[in-house]
Amino acid sequence: MEAILLVFILVLSIFLGFELISKVPATLHTPLMSGSNAISGITVVGALLTTIAATNSNDSEMKIILGVLAVAFATTNVVGGYLVTDRMLRMFKKKEPKK
């Protein structure tokens, strides 16, 4: 039953995603891509939960090592992705009214 519920959420999110993105002007394609790329770093939550579960229950060291590596990679994706997007967006300016 739980799996069905997850699929339900998945399907609705996909439709929501299509609705949100389909009207984006070309100017914003790059920031949108790098911004959504940063969101895909949400795996960091998965990595954290996996690592925390492994440390809590004294699972094998291998699991902890893999988890920590995953945390590091995903955090790079998240932090770098958001900062780079912000750097780009900071540059986008509207035309100033003629003096």
């Binding site: 959420i9 770093g41 960091v44 998965g46 699972d59 790079t76 994706n77 958001y82 300016k93």
Partner: protein, 469 residues
């Protein structure tokens, strides 16, 4: 200890922030705020995950977080705007490998657990590992191509499709073995651990194989597709650990990546499978359809200046060459001088100009060109007849009239910016070499085309100093 319910509420809050952030990110005036909102959403999600800590010794987790944050900050601030596509590709690869590692770590957990396993998380695990691995190596190859570490030409060899199909088949079989052999006891040749290693290896190789055969000019499509994959991989990871926030945000990213990919494909009038499998631009099948006739007329910067000075309506058409020459600031200066001189100046941006979607927009924004001066191809083509001068800066295929006139041309049917309809057309180019797609460009031989040979930045600077003197 915080209750599970409040942690889940925090995940809901994070999802709302992601959705609002993406919504705002799709409008130029609110985009920066949108990015900030989605970053706050990410922070909320991370804090929620950390709240599940039971023991107060999270030192390894902090090491991972700290290391990632430092690398991310340094990379984000050091990168030049012209190398933005590489960096996005690299970050994307990191997201992919993180999903792979989560899948792997969870797999070890599954193997050690004594509970009975259901099929769903295992199928999700196979997906996360497979897609994560393809995203990782695919992005790395894209990064190498974009950064010029390897050549941009597609790498092709006989039987490539066959090898790729075999790899894909191997991945499916390995995935099947993982699922069946973990649920019931080993009945087939490989035990689940071996099958997982096989799956990881084959998927990593597959990611390399798929992207090496794609030319550099098609990278906008590849990057947005890989971006979509990294979202799908995160989504699959969400199914393994039954976490909604991963599923929601992964699906959002997956959907947005697919939309961008299809926009890019449409802009080139090619199907996605054609981009992925045809090895376009390898030059191997250059159809000698129609010989280009006419002669090339070069022009000096001095004469170009005289024409520009008289022009009332100027359109700049930038391409990847502008990024290579780092000419965007000089171009902005020239456009300011032209405006001061009374001319109307616009920038016509082809959807696939450059090496990632919207690449030119970012570079010109860096040079302080206001975004309402950047016009899309469909807006500019109907009025291009009114332009006195169209200045093509380092663009080639996106202004190639063969796409309209020559049925035998490989790019026939691709929408292009019709610069040859402007009264005069300047083409700034380093040499007479063909463009990325390896196709002759009849534009250079048109009566109203004048070639300005040399480095784009130097040429533009020359024009700027003429205006100033």
């Amino acid at each position: 200890m915080i209750s599970l319910n409040s942690i889940n509420l925090l995940y809901v809050l994070a999802s709302i922030l992601f959705i609002l952030g993406l919504k705002k990110l799709s409008r130029p005036d609110s985009a920066r705020k949108g990015n900030l909102i989605s970053a706050i959403g990410m922070l909320v999600a991370i804090v929620a995950a950390l709240l599940t800590l039971e023991i107060l010794e999270p030192k390894w987790i902090l090491v991972g977080l700290g290391l990632g944050a430092v690398v991310g900050v340094i990379a984000a601030f050091k990168v030049k705007m012209t190398s933005m596509p590489e960096l996005v590709a690299l970050f994307n690869g990191f997201g992919g490998i993180a999903s792979l590692l989560v899948g792997w770590a969870e797999f070890i957990g599954f193997r050690e657990s004594v509970e009975t396993l259901s099929v769903v998380p295992l199928v999700a695990l196979v997906c996360a590992v497979l897609i994560g691995a393809v995203t990782f190596t695919g992005s790395l190859v894209a990064w190498c191509k974009l950064a010029g570490i390897v050549g941009g030409k597609p790498f092709l060899f006989p039987g490539q499709k066959f090898v790729n199909s075999l790899l894909l088949l191997g991945m499916v079989v390995a995935g099947y073995l993982i699922v069946t052999n973990t649920v019931s006891s080993s009945i087939l040749y490989l035990n689940p651990d071996q099958a997982l290693y096989l799956l990881i290896g084959l998927s990593l190789l597959f990611g390399v194989m798929v992207v090496v055969s794609i030319g550099g000019a098609d990278m906008p499509v590849v990057i947005s597709l890989l971006n979509s994959y990294s979202g799908i991989a995160a989504c699959a990871a969400g199914f393994i650990i039954t976490n909604n926030v991963l599923i929601v945000s992964g699906a959002l990213v997956g959907a947005s990546g697919i939309i961008l990919t299809s926009i890019m494909c449409k802009a080139m009038n090619r199907s996605l499978s054609n981009v992925l499998f045809s090895g376009f631009g390898s030059g191997s099948k250059s159809s000698k359809s129609s010989q280009v006739e006419g002669e090339i007329k070069a022009i000096s910067a001095d004469d170009a200046f005289l024409i520009l000075e008289a022009a009332r309506n100027v359109i700049f058409v930038p391409g990847y060459g502008m990024a290579v020459a780092q000419a965007q600031h000089a171009v902005k200066e020239l456009s300011d001088l032209l405006e001061k001189n009374g001319a109307e100046v616009n920038f016509a941006i082809h959807p696939v100009a450059g090496r990632m979607p919207g690449h030119m927009n970012v570079l010109l924004a860096e040079a302080n060109v206001p975004y309402d001066q950047l016009r899309e191809m469909d807006d500019i083509n109907p009025v291009i007849e009114n332009a006195d001068v169209a200045v093509v800066i380092g663009a080639n295929d996106v202004v190639n009239p063969a796409a309209i006139e020559d049925k035998g041309s490989p790019i026939y049917g691709m929408p292009v910016i019709n610069v040859n309809k402007a009264r005069t057309c300047f083409v700034l180019k380093r040499s007479m070499n063909a463009g990325f797609a390896g196709i002759d460009n009849p534009l250079f031989f048109k009566d109203n085309t004048r070639m300005l040979f040399g480095d784009a930045k130097e040429t533009i600077s020359c024009l700027v100093s003429e205006f100033k003197s």
